[in-house]
């Protein structure tokens, strides 16, 4: 449930975020930056404002108004859903049981073994149907406890009112324009995760995975530990 709400909100954030970038596809480092200062880099795309020199002779339609409205609304959905998910996961032990890698697995050899089995296109273990391997666990944890908090922080660091109330939160990032640049790259990492994640789901068998995600059950394991755990909780 929280997964699918986050999917919808995250896609809305990606699209509107891209739309907002189009109004000024130049990035800077430090506190300030505008078309008269030296950019860190420039995206080779046309802009939606004619004040930005892009080399293109046309200007894209300006859709910033609703994009900004939707960006912040979707951000609230992600934040509130994330809080529910985070608290519920701590409460139910989902973090500890399903996401924290086992200490014994937390080494390069386990990582190498997983990648090697991916590269060999080895048939998955029986256990892979209902448990995450160390690479999956690490990737999911990185997204949940590192990338999402960072993208929210760097986003808030562009809010003039938030900056006033929490100036240190902007200063440690190197300034408002640094926060904007970091926000762009962290969003890029999240997009990269999305692409890999969807690819892996497709490779693992899209229909059976979707069925498992929506119903919470896997077809191949009538007595899988997760559903007995749930029954145990509810009785």
């Amino acid at each position: 449930m929280t997964h699918w709400i986050t999917v919808i909100a995250f896609l809305a954030l990606l699209v509107t975020g891209a739309e907002i970038v189009v109004s000024h596809p130049r990035f800077y480092w430090g506190e300030v930056g505008n078309i008269q200062t030296h950019p860190l880099f420039v995206l080779p795309i046309p802009a939606s404002r004619d004040t930005v020199p892009t080399g293109y002779r046309f200007v894209m339609p300006d859709e910033n108004g609703w994009s900004r409205y939707l960006h912040f609304e979707a951000a609230w959905v992600v934040v509130l859903t994330g809080l529910v998910y985070g608290l519920a996961s701590l409460w139910s032990g989902h973090f500890r049981k399903d996401l924290l890698p086992a200490p014994a697995d937390w080494n390069w050899r386990s990582f190498r073994e997983v990648f090697a089995s991916y590269l060999r296109r080895a048939p998955p273990d029986k256990s892979d149907g209902y448990s995450y391997n160390v690479v999956q666990r690490t990737a999911y944890l990185a997204v949940i406890v590192v990338l999402f908090p960072l993208v929210i922080w760097t986003g808030l660091a562009m809010s003039p009112a938030f900056e006033g109330a929490f100036p240190w939160a902007v200063a440690v990032l190197g300034g408002r324009q640094s926060a904007r640049t970091l926000h762009f790259f962290i969003s890029g990492f999240l997009l990269l995760f999305l692409v890999v994640h969807v690819t892996m789901v497709v490779l693992a068998g899209f229909r059976s995975r979707m069925r498992a995600m929506i119903t919470g059950h896997t077809a191949s394991s009538p007595s899988n530990p997760r559903s007995t755990h749930e029954q145990h909780l509810t009785t």
Binding site: R26, W66, R68, E73, A161, F162, G164
Partner: protein, 252 residues
């Protein structure tokens, strides 16, 4: 498939009831304390209200960041504006000597101020950043009369909840709540970087609202009115921005 147990049913029911009651209570508290923005309409209304309410609760009295003098931008960028209208050109031709700022609405003494009148009130300066909704920014020193001194001079009434301000250019108007109107850094700006405020940056008179994005800092101000409701201005969404698709509250 596990059965839906009685306990789970009761818990879910209680949680849903608490949720609905919580929302109703939140709505009443938000209305009471003025945490609902005027553009709380349509699909984006809930997100907008959450943003405005959260920021108002956290930032009512916080100050915009001020910077050391050596961080003033060498190349500030004056965003483009529409070509000035005839009325503005007439003022420009005489060096803005006839420029007036009329202040009315919910005030005890409606007054028309000349630029020297404004300069005779306490004049302050601040080195703050202008951040545009597009993403760019610059830092400048802004010199002017805090709006709160003007509002004190005209005796703004306690019922006033918003201040609406108009440019000499038609259809360019904005409004702010009293938290921003009475804020010590909200300036009727007359000067920039130790000189007069250039026309490109809003001269002769710009209302700077440094805790919000650049588009709330309207250029060429001629009229300010205090009100308890924004319903009767324009389409009732608070300012020209929501009518053009942009949020009324631009603190984010």
């Amino acid at each position: 498939m596990s059965n839906i147990s009685r306990r789970r049913l009761i818990t879910t029911g209680l949680a849903a009831t608490a949720g609905v009651a919580g929302l109703a209570a939140a709505d009443r508290i938000a209305r009471r304390y003025g945490l609902i923005p005027p553009d709380n309409v349509g699909f984006f209304g809930p997100g907008e209200t959450l943003t405005y309410a959260a920021q108002r609760l956290m930032t009512t009295h916080s100050l915009a960041r001020e910077f050391p003098r050596n961080m003033i931008s060498k190349t500030p960028f004056a965003n483009e504006t529409a070509p000035p209208n005839e009325a503005f050109k007439r003022h420009q031709a005489v060096g803005f000597s006839d420029w007036r700022l009329s202040v009315d609405g919910m005030v005890a003494r409606p007054t028309s101020f000349s630029l020297p009148d404004l300069r005779s009130l306490p004049v302050h300066s601040q080195i703050t950043e202008v951040a545009c909704e597009e993403g760019w920014s610059y830092i400048a020193e802004w010199i002017g009369t805090p709006l709160v001194h003007v509002l004190d001079a005209v005796g703004v009434l306690p019922q006033a909840r918003y201040v609406v301000y108009f440019s000499i250019e038609p259809d360019w108007w904005e409004s702010i709540d009293m938290a921003d109107a009475l804020h010590p850094q909200t300036f009727l700006t007359l000067g920039m970087n130790d000189g007069d405020l250039p026309v490109g940056f809003g001269g002769p008179l710009r209302l700077r609202v440094p805790r919000q994005l650049g588009y709330k800092s309207v250029k060429y101000i001629t009229h300010i009115t205090a009100t308890d409701s924004l319903k009767k201005f324009g389409k009732g969404l608070g300012s020209a921005s929501p009518e053009g698709g942009y949020a009324w509250y631009a603190g984010i």
